[in-house]
């Protein structure tokens, strides 16, 4: 009997607790409702949610270099990105996080920028391919492809010529990346055979379009695309399983000394993105730097 009484009391206490937390829950939702009202005004006293890419990512490397977040200390370059920054290794999680969080800031490749988020102007320049090309928007990085120095695959050579030709660079421009200058029309030799291209997932979408276009000029060749990452792309090219490797970063010295020859095929802008309900439309590079180095913790420390 005592056990039953104990359980009855326990359940009564449990219900009471549930009731209280229920009330607490509604309190919380009341508060979030009021903050929902201020969200339309966008309360700048809130903490900034800083989202960054992982160490070693090509996007992050270019971002910290261009905004001066990388500092020289004792002859060594140190990444000063705040340790409070949330880290993700995918563009889609970056976009979802920024699209959901009113106070978030992040950065993505210009080519993968969607309309779920807002790209801010940097030092007064809009993040567009034209502005990157004219040099007013300074946040950009090269897309590299790499081959072995003694590449003997005719299809791969021909495909590379195509990428670096007028036709190939037109595909790059169509996909919102920035094409190379002074290119000549394509003079293909139409070799038949097979080539494997693989590597960085940042370069891969535009490479897919390039392969499609190349098939239009040379139906004899078969080109296989494997999407992995920059490092796998380089190591697989060194050991011969890819004919052409893709990297969204500069090649490392060990990779160069292993006999890889890099070629820049395009330039990609990096867009700094914020939530759509954010009132921030423009940031200076110093402001971006102070956010990412952790000097500014709330939005009102950055903007009025």
């Amino acid at each position: 009997m005592r056990m039953k009484k104990f359980i009855a009391i326990l359940s009564a206490v449990g219900m009471l607790a549930a009731g209280i937390t229920g009330c607490g829950g509604s309190d919380a939702s009341d508060v979030s409702d009021t903050s929902g009202d201020t969200q339309s005004e966008w309360d700048s006293s809130n903490d900034i949610t800083i989202v960054s890419r992982e160490e070693g990512s090509g996007t992050r490397g270019a971002f910290i270099e261009l905004f001066g977040i990388e500092e020289e200390q004792d002859g060594e370059k140190v990444d000063m990105t705040t340790e409070e920054a949330q880290i993700t290794n995918s563009t889609s999680v970056m976009m979802t996080t920024v699209a959901q969080d009113e106070y978030a800031i992040g950065y993505v490749s210009l080519g993968s920028l969607g309309d779920t988020v807002k790209a801010v102007k940097i030092d007064g320049a809009q993040a567009t391919a034209e502005n990157v090309k004219s040099g007013t928007y300074k946040v950009s990085r090269p897309f590299n492809i790499a081959t072995k120095e003694d590449l003997d695959n005719e299809v791969a050579k021909d495909f590379m010529n195509f990428i670096l030709s007028e036709e190939g660079q037109a595909v790059i421009t169509d996909n919102n990346y920035i094409a190379l200058e002074d290119v000549k029309p394509f003079e293909g030799t139409s070799p038949s055979g097979k080539a494997v291209v693989g590597g960085s997932s940042s370069v891969s979408p535009v490479m897919e379009k390039l392969i499609e276009a190349y098939k239009g000029v040379n139906a004899n060749a078969e080109i296989e695309l494997q999407t992995t990452d920059s490092t796998t792309g380089m190591t697989s090219t060194i050991d011969g399983s890819y004919d052409i490797g893709m990297a969204s970063r500069e090649l490392k010295n060990t990779e160069l000394s292993a006999g890889l020859k890099p070629t820049v095929i395009a330039t990609d802008g990096i867009a700094v993105i914020v939530n759509k309900s954010s009132t921030v439309d423009e940031l200076s590079s110093d402001q971006v730097k102070s956010i990412y180095t952790g000097d500014a913790l709330t939005w009102d420390e950055v903007v009025e």
Partner: protein
């Protein structure tokens, strides 16, 4: 007659090869991990690697203490969330459940076990993270917390992992409770104990080793979970700074940086895998120990 014995011998060989495959796989994984990880640990310095609080691969600083502590915190959180629910669920299923509810309940728990972890992760990212973020901002507004965090936190990861380890705990615990001889329960009733008292004072203590094994298996699942945790934990490579703040686990550290790592950085990530592997070994070892002790008691 002769051909039959040959047949039997041949098939025995086939079965033996099949059995060897899994052993061989484990052995190869061990060799790969240690052969690649140990040199990196030596190069970085074992103590520096395990107790270092800073992880800056760009400057060749490799300290994985934040990740070790992060993994432990998140796992502990998952245990706090998952174990009470799991044990009470299995008690309900084994001792209270009407036949009508049992089948759908069992099916639901089995389904929970079958959901891919990336789906859990997406659920966490879209459903749990905004809720926790609102909670954090509300706490900051009423002055209970100094910093609100952004929803990607130890708390979120713990809640999500707590749900994810439920099927493991419920499955093992339920069968352990069912394995207790019926005489124990009947004897307790005959001595005048109520249904509840017989369950909590007689059956559960008798099934103790099975329950503990279930919890430890759950811990193993939580510490090894990767995809779901990456999507909700924030992944900051620094010492955990609070329950509403982000954290990076050992598994997340490997997956996030593997794509771009080269040279020593890559080896350091494999060495992280070695540390994780040692954790899992310890967990499996303790499960075996608990089971053996349980058998001796019976």
């Amino acid at each position: 007659m002769k051909s039959k014995t040959w047949n039997e011998k041949f098939m025995q060989g086939v079965f033996f090869t099949a059995a060897c495959t899994s052993v061989l796989a484990v052995a190869l994984i061990c060799i790969f991990l240690f052969a690649n990880g140990i040199p990196a640990m030596k190069e970085i310095g074992f103590i520096k690697f395990i107790t270092g609080q800073r992880w800056k691969p760009g400057n060749d600083i490799y300290g994985i203490l934040p990740m070790i502590v992060g993994s432990l915190y998140v796992t502990a959180g998952a245990v706090i969330v998952g174990v009470p629910i799991g044990i009470l669920t299995s008690v309900f299923m084994a001792m209270y459940c009407p036949k009508k509810i049992y089948k759908p309940l069992k099916a639901a728990i089995e389904l929970l076990a079958g959901i891919p972890s990336v789906v859990y992760g997406f659920f966490g990212l879209v459903v749990l993270v905004p809720r926790v973020r609102e909670l954090g901002r509300a706490l900051k507004m009423i002055g209970l917390a100094r910093s609100s965090g952004n929803g990607n936190s130890i708390l979120t990861a713990s809640l999500l992992l707590g749900i994810m380890i439920l099927p493991t705990i419920v499955g093992v615990t339920e069968s352990a409770i069912r394995a207790v001889p019926a005489q124990y329960y009947e004897g307790a009733l005959a001595l005048g104990a109520t249904h509840e008292r017989s369950i909590f004072k007689v059956i559960i203590p008798a099934a103790k080793s099975g329950v503990v094994a279930g919890v430890v298996l759950g811990i193993g699942r939580a510490i090894g979970e990767t995809m779901a945790v990456i999507m909700v934990a924030g992944n900051q490579a620094r010492m955990p700074a609070g329950i509403m703040k982000g954290v990076r686990t050992l598994t997340a550290n490997i997956v996030i940086e593997m794509g771009y790592a080269a040279d020593l950085h890559r080896e350091a990530l494999i060495a992280t895998g070695v540390v994780l592997f040692v954790f899992i070994l310890l967990i499996n070892f303790s499960v075996a120990l608990i089971k053996r002790r349980g058998e001796r008691e019976q």
